[in-house]
């Protein structure tokens, strides 16, 4: 605690932006954040945002209904590319979710105080992103309404899930991930819900928050167990978050498809996940702090740190891009070598080229501190990375599949309008959930911000 404060103090003295702007007290933090939920009128901008996002969410609903009615034939998937947009979007969304858990769990364990201002909405982002992700494998089933067959239960067929299949691991990984993220998020919310309960004026509001806060009253004994449980959950979520994208990468690597069967995929996927996840964090944080006037709490420090994490993870991703063709070349396996030749020279060369440009080349500007400290630049780079990471999954899924071992089963993948509607629809759904969350729940963890204040420190010997 002590050392940490001094490190922070020194960092600020040496020109780094502070984690929280000076001049705040417990009361101002509490009132500022709870007022966003409780007293701020519904703004026109918010209404427009929710309206636009829900429009796309309804398009998603429509696209999904039509899919149920008609079957996956409305999508562009076919042999040989049987895993088109659905799996691309799935991997993309799961990846985006990873940053939330990284911030809330790993940075908590590493005692990085800057996480406290952004963990709440990053966790919400995780939940909504995983919800978007979870849709795709289910929709991709020929009979989505039978998705419950994926769980082991004593069915009348006496048939169980095949536990040697990575697709079944996925079911467990993603559902565990969603559940644990939800628990973690909810646990973090409990004290803040109590804060809202006690601040709310409207009787119904009070009842709802009171119901959700479960009678939290900030007892010292409760806090003690709460803190232990919080740390334990963080400790559990840390390997979990690694495992989730690892399992997603197993979906590919366990198969012996050239371009998929590569041992680097687990860390490569996780790094890519965090890469895109932090891009999404910035995409959310930059407008939020601007529109809600939260520059005091989400400072340039947060933005810069996120930028640096993006840079680091982006380099790991680039490392993967280099290792794969190198090892394919070294092994001399002609199928593997062809796969990487095809990426750069085949019909999808332009996709591959944009991948390298957007994912590897452009983000290198983050080396420049001025860029890292400019919200507009960060926003643009984040957008670039989000798209780049989507393209990466497209490259892995589509280019690896479109030229099968036999030339007779070569083909192309053409997404249909329903593919696009579903993808954009989930984006709309995601932002709709995010905006609703901003409106009804404290978007910044109030009690954890209070802990950041110097007054929070107990100034007696233990």
């Amino acid at each position: 605690m002590e050392q940490k404060d001094r490190v922070e103090e020194i960092s600020v003295r040496h020109g780094r932006p502070p984690v929280m702007a000076p001049g705040h007290t417990f009361a101002t933090i509490t009132d500022k954040i709870s007022s966003i939920v409780l007293t701020r009128p519904v703004s026109l901008g918010w209404m427009l945002g929710v309206g636009f996002a829900s429009l796309w969410a309804f398009i998603l609903l429509f696209a999904v209904s039509y899919l149920f009615y008609q079957g996956v034939g409305i999508w562009g998937v076919n042999i040989p590319v049987a895993w088109g947009f659905a799996i691309v979007n799935f991997v993309w969304w799961v990846g985006i979710g990873h940053a939330g858990t990284l911030i809330s769990a790993i940075l908590l364990l590493l005692r990085q105080s800057w996480r406290n201002s952004i963990n709440r909405f990053a966790e919400a982002m995780t939940l909504f992103a995983v919800a978007c992700a979870g849709m795709f494998p289910v929709l991709h089933l020929g009979r989505p309404w039978l998705a419950y067959w994926l769980f082991p239960y004593p069915n009348t067929m006496n048939v169980w899930p095949q536990f040697r299949s990575p697709l079944v691991w996925d079911v467990f990984a993603v559902s565990t991930y969603f559940t644990v993220s939800l628990l973690f998020w909810y646990q973090g919310l409990i004290p803040d819900l109590a804060t809202l309960r006690d601040r709310a004026v409207n009787r119904h509001t009070r009842t709802i928050y009171g119901f959700l806060a479960m009678g939290w009253r900030g007892s010292a004994r409760h806090w003690k167990r709460y803190h232990t449980a919080y740390l334990i959950l963080a400790g559990l979520a840390t390997p979990l978050v690694l495992s989730v994208h690892t399992v997603v990468s197993y979906d590919f690597t366990i198969a012996v498809v050239p371009g998929w069967h590569s041992t680097i995929f687990p860390p490569f996927f996780v790094a890519g996940a965090i890469y895109s996840g932090f891009a999404m964090v910035l995409i959310l944080a930059i407008p939020i702090r601007y529109f809600y006037g939260l520059e005091d709490f989400v400072t340039m420090r947060h933005l810069e740190n996120s930028g640096m994490i993006m840079l680091a993870t982006g380099l790991i991703v680039a490392y993967g891009y280099i290792m794969e063709p190198f090892m394919a070349w070294l092994s001399g396996n002609k199928y593997d070598m062809y796969q990487f030749w095809d990426r750069a020279h085949g019909p999808y060369w332009w996709v591959f080229l944009s991948l390298i440009t957007m994912n590897v080349v452009i983000p290198q500007v983050l080396w420049i501190p001025k860029v890292r400290r400019n919200p507009a630049w960060l926003f643009l780079i984040s957008l670039d990375v989000l798209i780049g990471m989507w393209i990466e999954r497209f490259v892995i899924v589509v280019i690896s599949l479109h030229r099968d071992f036999l030339t007779s089963s070569w083909g192309m993948y053409y997404p249909t309008r329903w593919d696009w509607f579903t993808l954009l629809g989930t984006v709309g759904f995601f932002f709709m959930c995010m905006l609703l969350f901003l409106r009804v729940l404290p978007m910044i963890s109030i009690f954890e911000l209070r802990e950041l204040l110097p007054e929070a420190e107990v100034k007696v010997e233990p």
Binding site: W160, G215, A220, R221, W223, K224, H227, L233, L236, L240
Partner: protein, 178 residues
């Protein structure tokens, strides 16, 4: 004395250090049935009041172990006992493949036992609590710190305890009705 049954006496402080010192004093004075209330976890406060062992890790350990063993046994039973199917020539008990789901189930069970264990040990949900009668108590979730000595403590005596609490230098002491 008061005719309304009393839950306890509530003393108010404006910073965590004062609360911690007060709790320490009260513990030295022999009070045991008391609790501190703060808007964020105060390091060492629970211990200052003689907090019993924190059993959270044990609860989570048990949950995790059950998940781990249960998760593996489930897969083994399903794949090697209930319906052995030859898949890609892999052994029926393919432990390398089963480790993944075992891990996930372990985490799931441990996480569930962490949250529900915390709620259970804390006696939550408890939407109704005598303390909520107190008018000032709503600031316990904002910026105030409270120490409540409960009437069920054997050493509790209304006037004497009130005098003791007032002597701790807080911002006033109030009675909490049951």
């Amino acid at each position: 004395m008061s005719l309304v049954p009393v839950y306890g006496l509530l003393a108010e402080f404006d910073n965590p250090t004062d609360l911690l010192l007060a709790a320490r004093r009260a513990h030295e004075e022999g009070y045991r049935k008391m609790d501190g209330y703060s808007p964020f976890p105060v390091e060492g406060l629970a211990e200052a009041m003689g907090f019993e062992r924190d059993r959270m890790p044990l609860v989570v350990l048990i949950g995790g172990l059950l998940g781990c063993v249960g998760g593996y046994l489930m897969q083994w039973w399903i794949s090697a006992v209930s319906y052995p199917i030859n898949s890609g020539g892999k052994p029926y008990n393919s432990w390398p493949a089963f480790l993944v789901v075992t891990f996930e189930v372990t985490i799931l069970c441990a996480a569930l036992s962490a949250l529900f264990g915390m709620l259970g040990l804390n006696g939550l949900p408890m939407p109704y609590h005598p303390l909520f009668h107190s008018a000032r108590f709503e600031f316990a979730t904002r910026d105030r710190f409270f120490l409540c000595i409960e009437a069920s403590d054997p050493r509790f005596e209304l006037t004497q305890t009130r005098r003791f609490l007032e002597g701790l230098g807080g911002h006033g002491v109030s009675e909490v009705p049951y």
